[in-house]
């Protein structure tokens, strides 16, 4: 049976659901000690005195490290992918704390309890400095830079211009102008950050067990920062309880743990608690765009200019800082629409807040901006938002190009829009809405479209793009089973299932006989990103497929030699090689592999008995447009008595190319939509004007629970099966969250249309909904 396309239950599920998963906190090593960090209670200030003597003498304490101690043991942390102005930073603060939660000292003790007790005994005095918490202050040239080695709090500026902006605005009947803001939110995976650093003084081997989504990135950065030889540095990661982009970062705490483990020659564990996590693991999304849209009265969108400001927080993320996402935002903002003139100016600003980190679709500001703008244009012109979209959408024809350059040949946005509106009964809804308004009930409908280069058309990724593609290794075991070593580092995506489906089909072995190995830098191919950026569907799959094909060729060559027949006349079915249509001459893979491993000298001449293959996939074999995308539509009812928003329906029409496993794809979409709903209605990281952090627990940072998420209806736009073995799978991890906030805010805006509400802030808690309605 063909596995690709089948709703195969996830092989991970049994292990995880029966409590047999292995998360980093499950690890108990002999002689292990525990770290706790003393964190800054203020947003900005110089440390004027730091007394750790009492803490050093506290019961069970092995060591207390200050910023000065760490500085002596570490090189500056420099990302190999740094972009923009980059300050010199060390594992702990050496002089000035830069946000609430900044790292002042580390205590290592026999237990986490004792470490926290001792951390409480450290005496710190701060001399307060004014905090930079908003865009205006960060932009003010009179405000001293947070980092003394940088010239300003503006870390990066860039301009992207495409098409003829002037002509577009000159031809416009009207220019719609608005500033749209997206608020700060947090990734909050169920499993927080955490690691165990283990050092063996005998061999000099440093092993990091980490909750990470990028083991190789972590290993590289650790080697560079600690000057540790890479042949003695291994990162291991097993089950990871979610990350959503956060754990692609390498954190200052990670270096502290490794340094302490080397110093103390003991395993050191740190598991971030939820309070630390909310405050200091990193935050996402805080951005604003001031946009102008040049339109005709008929609703043609001629031109867009956008000025983007990104609040990067205090320390640049490593290896991906906020700056690394401005390029994608400005590239994709015009989306699938026929904009003719376009400019985007970006600025990235340093503030006294936690670090900006990637979160599922880190560039989503482009979709929210564009789709909100289209609704605003429709409102201003008195047109139907669906019609404005139809009027400006590309068909996906061969010559279609986004104004910023990439070809849009083959995109299906128009089909997705039509199907979404049909499914949600757009016309019927408008009648229902009118009737409800007459009764004082406020219903609204929202729709939004997105496209995402996951992986993008070929021209966007010559030779495999910026990572040069991705490699995978496969090995035929002596018992005929297949092991796949992937460069992906799954943390909820189900790659142990999907990559096994692909390898099973490619090799001709039963799905149950394929094991996917990940998360061990000693055996998996290098990939600086690990899993992230909706890359796995194409790159992880493609790598697995080309490596398995290579291995299959080797196997067939051996079998062909043994049977004295041409390899093209052989097949592998259910783990057995046989001549097509000739029964009785089967060679089970177990026999073949056993023989080649134990007696490689018996390999037929000219064949390779080493039954492994490592191949790099550079994307040549991809098929289809390269664009993932789709349209979501939802219906809400707003209660003007409470400001509550009830989501009555949510329809997704999504195109992610060929589907490897529909259950996993639907799960990815649903999870993304849930997070997008959370982002609009529930979640916000609050800082006050002094930079005080105000959401230390889940009492203040509200995540949607299953009770808040409506049923999500999913329709797939899927191409025909690839006859020629093309890699037609595209990323689907981020789309749901990229487009959900735009969909929902458009629906709420539509519900509040009778009040002339203008939705420009993405966060819409009940009190804000009532403010927009003019009720409170």
């Amino acid at each position: 049976m063909r596995m690709v396309g089948a709703k195969v239950p996830r092989v991970e599920d049994r292990r995880i659901l029966t409590g047999n998963g292995h998360y980093v906190d499950d690890l108990q090593l002999p002689r292990m000690v525990h770290a706790a960090f003393l964190r800054s209670p203020i947003a900005h200030g110089r440390i004027t005195s730091l007394d750790v003597e009492e803490a050093r003498k506290a019961p069970g304490v092995h060591a207390v490290y200050t910023g000065a101690d760490m500085r002596a043991l570490s090189k500056p942390i420099r990302s190999p992918l740094a972009q923009g102005a980059t300050p010199e930073i060390f594992p702990l603060v050496t002089d000035t704390v830069l946000f609430v939660g900044d790292l002042v000292a580390m205590v290592v003790a026999d237990s986490r309890y004792l470490a926290e007790d001792a951390a409480g005994m450290i005496d710190v005095e701060y001399s307060d400095l004014p905090a930079v918490v908003d865009y205006e202050t960060a932009l003010d040239p009179g405000v001293p830079p947070l980092f003394p080695d940088l010239e300003s709090n503006v870390l990066h500026t860039a301009t992207k211009e495409a098409g003829d902006v002037e002509a577009a605005f000159a031809a416009a009947d009207r220019v719609v102008e608005v500033t749209l803001s997206q608020h700060r939110i947090a990734n909050v995976p169920i499993e927080t950050r955490g690691a165990v650093a283990d050092y063996d003084p005998g061999s000099g081997q440093l092993t990091l067990h980490a909750a990470t989504q990028a083991p190789h990135g972590l290993r590289l950065q650790m080697a560079q920062t600690l000057d540790h030889p890479m042949d003695r540095l291994r990162v291991l990661t097993q089950d990871v309880g979610g990350a959503f982009g956060l754990k692609g970062n390498i954190f200052r705490e990670d270096f502290c743990l490794a340094i302490a483990a080397k110093q103390l020659a003991r395993p050191v564990k740190w598991i971030e608690d939820r309070n630390e996590h909310l405050m200091a693991s990193g935050h996402a999304r805080e951005e604003r765009i001031t946009a102008q849209v040049a339109v005709t009265e008929a609703g043609d969108i001629l031109g867009i200019t956008a000025a983007l400001d990104m609040d990067a927080g205090a320390y640049p993320g490593v290896p991906f800082s906020a700056v690394s996402f401005t390029g994608v935002i400005s590239l994709l903002l015009p989306g699938p629409y026929t904009v003719r003139g376009y400019r985007c100016d970006s600025r990235v600003l340093a503030t006294n807040k936690s670090t900006y980190v990637a979160y599922r679709g880190p560039w989503a500001m482009e979709t929210w901006t564009r789709e909100r703008l289209i609704d605003m244009v429709a409102t201003e012109l008195g047109l139907d938002p669906a019609e404005v979209r139809r009027r400006n959408l590309y068909e996906g024809a061969d010559g279609d190009r986004m104004v910023t350059g990439p070809t849009l040949a083959g995109i299906t946005t128009r089909e997705c829009l039509d199907r979404a509106l049909e499914r949600i009964d757009y016309a019927g809804f408008r009648a229902e809405q009118e009737a409800a308004r007459a009764e004082g009930r406020y219903l609204g409908i929202g729709m939004a479209a997105f496209i995402e280069n996951a992986p993008g058309p070929k021209e966007m990724r010559p030779n495999g793009g910026f990572t040069g593609g991705e490699a995978a290794r496969v090995r035929l075991e002596m018992d005929g089973r297949l092991t796949v070593f992937t460069a992906q580092s799954p943390h909820g995506q189900g790659h142990e299932t999907t990559l096994a489906q692909l390898a099973a089909d490619e090799m001709g072995v039963p799905f149950e006989q394929v094991r996917v190995v990940h998360g061990d830098t000693q055996v998996t191919p290098f990939n600086i990103l690990g899993t992230g950026g909706s890359r796995a569907a194409t790159w992880g799959s493609g790598a697995t497929m080309v490596a398995t094909r290579k291995l299959r060729e080797k196997v067939l060559a051996i079998a062909a030699g043994q049977l004295e027949i041409d390899p093209s006349d052989l097949q592998i079915v259910d783990g057995v090689v046989s001549p097509k249509g000739v029964p009785g001459r089967e060679i089970p893979l177990a026999r073949l592999a056993g023989q080649m491993t134990l007696m490689p000298q018996t390999a037929p001449p000219g064949t390779d008995p080493n039954l492994q293959a490592e191949e790099r996939f550079t994307g040549e074999e991809t098929s289809g447009s390269g664009w993932s995308g789709g349209v979501h539509a939802c219906i809400v009812e707003v209660d003007l008595g409470t400001g509550g928003v009830q989501i009555k329906r949510w329809v997704v029409v999504e195109d992610c190319g060929r589907i490897i496993n529909p259950a996993i794809v639907d799960g990815q979409i649903r999870g993304g939509v849930a997070q997008g709903i959370g982002q609009v209605l529930y979640e916000r990281i609050p800082y006050d004007v002094e930079g005080t952090f105000m959401a230390g627990t889940f009492m203040d940072y509200l995540l949607p629970t299953s009770a808040e998420i409506p049923p999500i209806e999913i329709v797939h736009v899927e191409p025909e099966d690839d006859e020629d073995g093309g890699v037609g799978f595209r990323g689907v991890g981020e789309g749901g969250m990229i487009v959900a906030p735009a969909t929902l805010t458009n629906a709420i805006s539509d519900a509040l249309a009778p009040f002339g509400a203008r939705v420009t802030e993405q966060y819409l808690p009940p009190a804000e909904v009532l403010r927009l309605a003019g009720v409170v």
């Binding site: 007790d117 529930y682 230390g696 627990t697 009940p766």
Partner: protein, 291 residues
């Protein structure tokens, strides 16, 4: 998020608990009931104690009795209250309010004595006591005393219990036959503390005139509040949607709630007005239904 060290004392009886509280009075002692409020505070090191007197194993604190109203031992779990047929019959409002406390897992552990002693201004059960003029019984070394709801809640998270007193039981009057009731709450998510909670009871006479009315709020002040504005405006009037709206508006106008991340004082007043009208509507329907 690990609490500082403390000593744990498992009390086997009320006497033992009370004498431990007296004995350890100078060493930061607290009662541990379901731990749903106290343990997070300790774990976050927002509170620290020298000693915890754990009353979960005190058998006489676990029973519900029904005579002159409902009487609950202090460690009766919220879940027991919400599922008890006796409570459903004598005071369905209490069962409904209790069901609004957090999620099932929290209600499985949290206790009726704990929520009253904790005195969270947004909590449901303290507001039920205020609404129905309930009371608690407390025991100290000096003996037993009863405190009426009106004298019990003394400010944010504060009661008039002495530190060495143990709350032993909670008394909630039964709803009189024919009384309609309603629990209206708005929270941003299911299971959250209400931003505003409104409790109401109404009785109607044969002509559809209101013969008795009680209205109480949680989440709008430092303590649960009775609304004399609403109650006096209702009694003697004829039930109508306009009356509910007007009373909701007037009752909310005199509230002085605080502001927080969930909304301003003005927003809370708006919620109070909305929920009061909805509560009165539902209570009057129920009163009619049972009349």
């Amino acid at each position: 998020m690990k609490p500082a060290a403390f000593e744990h004392h498992a009390a086997g009886s009320v006497e033992e608990a009370v004498s431990l509280l007296a004995e350890l009075a100078d060493e930061d002692v607290k009662v541990l009931a379901g731990g749903q409020s106290l343990v997070p505070l300790l774990a976050l090191r927002l509170a620290s104690v020298g000693h915890l007197v754990d009353v979960n194993g005190v058998p006489e604190l676990t029973t519900i009795s029904n005579g002159d109203g409902l009487r609950f031992g202090a460690v009766v779990r919220h879940r027991q209250v919400e599922r008890s047929p006796e409570v459903a019959a004598a005071n369905p409002l209490l069962a409904a309010a209790t069901r609004r406390i957090g999620h099932t897992a929290i209600r499985n552990r949290g206790t009726i004595g704990g929520t009253v002693a904790h005195a969270d201004p947004a909590a449901e059960v303290p507001a039920v006591l205020a609404l129905l003029d309930g009371s608690v019984e407390v025991r100290g070394e000096g003996g037993t005393r009863s405190i009426a709801a009106a004298d019990l809640f003394d400010g944010y998270f504060t009661t008039t219990l002495e530190p060495e007193e143990l709350l032993t039981s909670v008394h909630v009057p039964a709803l009189p036959e024919g009384t309609g009731w309603s629990v209206q709450q708005f929270s941003r998510r299911s299971g959250d503390y209400g931003i505003v909670t409104v409790l109401a009871t109404l009785a109607l006479d044969g002509d559809g005139r209101i013969s008795a009315a009680r209205v109480a709020y949680a989440g709008v002040d430092a303590v649960p509040l009775r609304s004399s504005v609403a109650e006096s405006a209702l009694v003697g009037q004829t039930a109508s949607a306009e009356l509910w709206t007007a009373v909701g508006h007037d009752a909310a106008a005199v509230l002085e709630p605080g502001s927080d991340l969930n909304g301003s004082a003005e927003y809370r007043r708006h919620l109070a007005a909305t929920l009061t009208a909805r509560a009165l509507q539902q209570a009057s329907e129920r009163a009619g239904g049972r009349a």
